[in-house]
């Protein structure tokens, strides 16, 4: 029907992409082990996002639009897994939390008006664009043209945010507190409180689902009879590479990968890198943003202008996410170039991208850096960003109902 070819052809293509990705890994390792490490993590994140159809935009939006909590449940499981892992890592970085030192690489970010406004703008933008930053990245790999357009808008929004960064720095960010729960509660109670809060949200999601009416569990093929080891291996292969993953498994794996990345270096995040691309591109036209005040001393996804090479380890992270999702989609027979027929979708995707970019710029991260890596950092900014993200997603949902 479409040009996707026979099953064996797309599987061969997927194997070819994985092979190329492995070659890049080996070459990158020869140049800089950090490049190789971030390439591997990028591949893994992209693959899992694609296999789980893991979407932060729909996690928030579908609660309002459908009373449907599939994605939010996955997000909550991922946050719980990452919170436990992060707490262990941070307790080793800063054994006595009450002394007043913050774990150097955790996403404990200044929390203030910029966090709230960033959350609202990001929430509206991700719903308009039909995907947040990580969602757009993996859908780019799946062949959604609209996600490429959203990504272009995202670069534009990040650039605008970097023109206004110093304004925000002087009025809000520089004096905003960085609130790390273990400073006042200690490690154990902070983790317990975070897990309790996540559990409470989970119950809230179940309540929303049942208030909206009947809940149909995701259909899974059943009744396959396993006759041999080969059958079991075949079923395992299908479950990993072809069928969509159950969302809580995808969430748990993403949370676990985030812990591993934090253990190796720093929490997951990448909008700072995309902001750098936008800044360097603008620089080619003599329109580079001014150096962002205070950014060098902050964790999270802030713009770090480099005077060095064009490629750094984060370039490999973003590139790896594209290739991982592309390979995942190919292997499952889910890659297809999808071109929206309604013209309004192009404006919607671009505009949504710009809003997301500006929001992520002033909130110092997207749904990954300012949320998925911030709540596990046992930091208040993650919860504030999440609350306003919810508000923005609600506004966005009202808007897309009007655009239908």
């Amino acid at each position: 029907m479409s040009g996707a070819g026979s099953p064996s052809r797309h599987v061969l293509r997927a194997i070819a992409v994985w092979t190329l990705a492995a070659v890049v890994l080996v070459l990158a390792f020869g140049v800089d082990t950090e490049f190789a490490r971030f390439w591997a993590f990028g591949l893994a994140f992209g693959f899992v996002l694609q296999r789980g159809r893991f979407c932060f935009a729909s996690a928030f939006r579908d609660l309002f639009l459908l009373g449907h909590g599939r994605n939010m449940k996955g997000v909550l499981v991922g946050l719980a897994v990452a919170s436990v892992g992060f707490a262990i890592v941070m307790a080793r970085q800063v054994p006595i939390a009450e002394l007043g030192f913050l774990p150097p690489t955790a996403n404990v970010l200044p929390v203030g008006v910029h966090t709230a406004l960033g959350g609202v703008l990001f929430g509206v933008g991700m719903v308009l664009a039909g995907g947040c930053v990580s969602g757009s990245l993996y859908r780019m790999g799946e062949g959604y043209l609209a996600s490429w357009i959203a990504f272009a808008g995202l670069m534009g929004g990040l650039l605008i945010s970097n023109y206004t960064w110093n304004w925000w720095w002087e009025r809000s960010m520089s004096t905003a507190p960085r609130i790390w729960l273990p400073l006042s509660l200690g490690h154990s109670w902070s983790l317990a409180l975070t897990l309790l809060a996540l559990g409470a949200v989970f119950v809230g999601v179940l309540w929303i689902e049942h208030r909206a009416g009947m809940v149909i569990p995701a259909s899974r093929p059943v009744g396959e009879v396993s006759g041999s080891v080969a059958d079991d291996l075949r079923a395992l292969g299908l479950n990993v590479f072809v069928r969509g993953w159950p969302i809580v498994i995808a969430g748990a794996v993403l949370g676990g990968l985030n812990v591993l990345l934090f253990t190796a270096q720093e929490p997951w995040g990448f909008t700072g890198e995309v902001a750098r691309w936008a800044a360097e591109l603008a620089g080619l036209f003599g329109a580079a943003p001014p150096p962002p005040m205070g950014a060098m001393d902050l964790p999270g996804c802030v713009l770090i202008l480099s005077d060095g090479p064009v490629v750094n380890h984060m370039t490999f992270m973003v590139g790896g996410m594209w290739v991982g999702s592309f390979a995942g989609a190919l292997g499952a027979g889910e890659f297809k170039v999808r071109i929206p027929t309604q013209r309004v979708r192009y404006a919607q995707s671009f505009g949504g991208g710009v809003l997301m970019g500006y929001g992520a710029g002033i909130a110092m991260g997207c749904t990954i850096g300012a949320f998925f890596s911030s709540i596990p950092s046992l930091a208040i900014n993650g919860w504030v960003f999440a609350a306003f993200l919810g508000l923005g997603a609600w506004l966005g949902t009202v808007m897309i109902r009007g655009i239908a």
Partner: protein, 89 residues
């Protein structure tokens, strides 16, 4: 083939093509189409290339009284046949 005879109503099933659409429009447009379906239309066929809709459409269709059968018809394309459940069942 995309056409199928609906014998009880003895006319062609209606088809909604939402290929190329971004999230969440495949589901939203399906819900709109189901609500517009006249009482003697028993089925609606939806053609989509958006995998997440395979989770959202069956749930929303069920809330409107429709059962969903999913069939993969090509590389990343699915045909969903939504059938109105009989009264009282």
């Amino acid at each position: 083939m995309t056409w199928e005879i609906d014998r009880t109503a003895s006319k062609m099933a209606k088809t909604l093509d939402v290929r190329g659409e971004i999230c969440p429009y495949p589901m939203m447009r399906t819900v709109t189409a189901l609500k517009k379906l006249s009482a003697d239309d028993r089925t609606l066929e939806v053609v989509t290339d958006h995998a997440p809709a395979l989770d959202t459409i069956p749930t929303q269709a069920a809330r409107l009284g429709f059962e969903t059968a999913v069939e993969k018809v090509g590389g990343s394309e699915w045909r969903l046949v939504l059938t109105r459940k009989r009264e009282g069942t």
